[in-house]
Symmetry: C2
Subunit: 219 residues, 2 copies
């Protein structure tokens, strides 16, 4: 490790940024597998291949590292749902996103949502972590809401539909489904729960859009 | 503490049973507030007012104690929802139960579901804990399912309604809503999410029951 990397300058060198990112990634993986409290800084150092002085160069303490893990997991969770999450503006897009989420959950062997698990573990004990997790869920909910708002503007959803509340309902269903799937080690709870939330959105179809959907089904 | 209490006999004396129960209750409260890993056996002993030898008389190790905490929290969580949970056999009963859940969440200052928090923390790391938590959720789901099955038998729900899947959907909504409420420290996500699940059940009303509900509304 170069002297430059440990110089403490506010601008990280490329190599410094890579080391920092390696630490956060290692911590995120370990914490996803075992939780914050079952992950020691020694394990993070070993997995990232960094020394104690390197770790403390970038992070004042474990809490500071955990806040960065929350930021990284927010990016990862939202990124893994792309391109679907960025354009949830039709029932077909919602269905494709649903299929992608179920596939992601299966690939992760139903180990739960990285953000949901962090929220469950940290929200009661750390106000800074709770706020950052709430912000992560808000970004997630906003992505869904933007798609539903477009559907309402286009007349696919009725003018009376509330995109914000529908997005909160859908995100709750995803979180609850992921938790029950993690606990039962089957994907059914997630499937059942997202299907409920999408059917709930479909109840807010505009009558014009319903007529056209029915005539499409008849064809 | 009497010699009798520490005799290791398979039948607990009344005093032994009370001590054992005091330990599990203390552990359940601490774990609900801070999680399994942030709760030490020393804290449990202090809160329960027992010595190390008393604690180890009743529990081989922390894992054994945690399994008892899961059993106790299952009882507590289901008990707190009574009398509603035992008779969820009408839309009015579902509404009263919904109101009770929202009240319980507010009284607990939205600290999350004791079972959901344990599941999130333990399911990936302890197979014995995961199975016991899955069994707890199954009992909960079965209570809901029994009520919905009665509604279907009575013709309030259509013959095509699937009480098992509707119960899983409702329980997922409750879990997701409780988690988002805990993270945002507002009760809205829980309200929105249970309301979605009850509206979802209402979509499976039998046409006979729908007509009578409409005529009631007109009166």
């Amino acid at each position: 490790m170069s002297a430059n990397e440990e110089s403490g300058s506010p601008t990280l060198t490329a190599r410094g940024a890579a080391t920092r990112s390696r630490i956060v990634n290692a911590a995120a993986d370990l914490i996803y597998a075992h939780g914050v409290d079952r992950t020691s800084l020694d394990e993070v150092m070993a997995k990232a291949g960094v020394s104690k002085s390197q770790l403390y160069h970038y992070f004042a303490d474990k809490d500071a590292l955990v806040l960065e893990v929350i930021a990284l997991q927010t990016e990862r969770v939202l990124g893994a749902q792309q391109p679907h999450l960025g354009a949830l503006d039709s029932f077909r897009a919602l269905q494709l996103w649903r299929d992608a989420l179920i596939q992601l959950n299966a690939s992760a062997r139903a180990k739960g949502c990285p953000l949901g698990s962090l929220a469950s573990e940290l929200a009661n004990d750390s106000e800074s972590a709770r706020k950052r997790l709430a912000a992560g869920f808000e970004i997630w909910g906003d992505c869904i809401e933007r798609g539903l708002t477009k559907m309402r503007e286009r007349g696919a959803l009725a003018a009376s539909a509330n995109p914000h509340e529908l997005a909160v309902a859908l995100l709750s269903a995803v979180q609850g489904g992921l938790l029950l799937s993690k606990t039962t080690q089957t994907s059914r709870p997630l499937e059942i729960s997202i299907d409920m939330a999408i059917a709930h959105i479909a109840r807010h179809m505009s009558s014009k859009s319903e007529r056209s959907s029915r005539s499409q089904k008849r064809r």
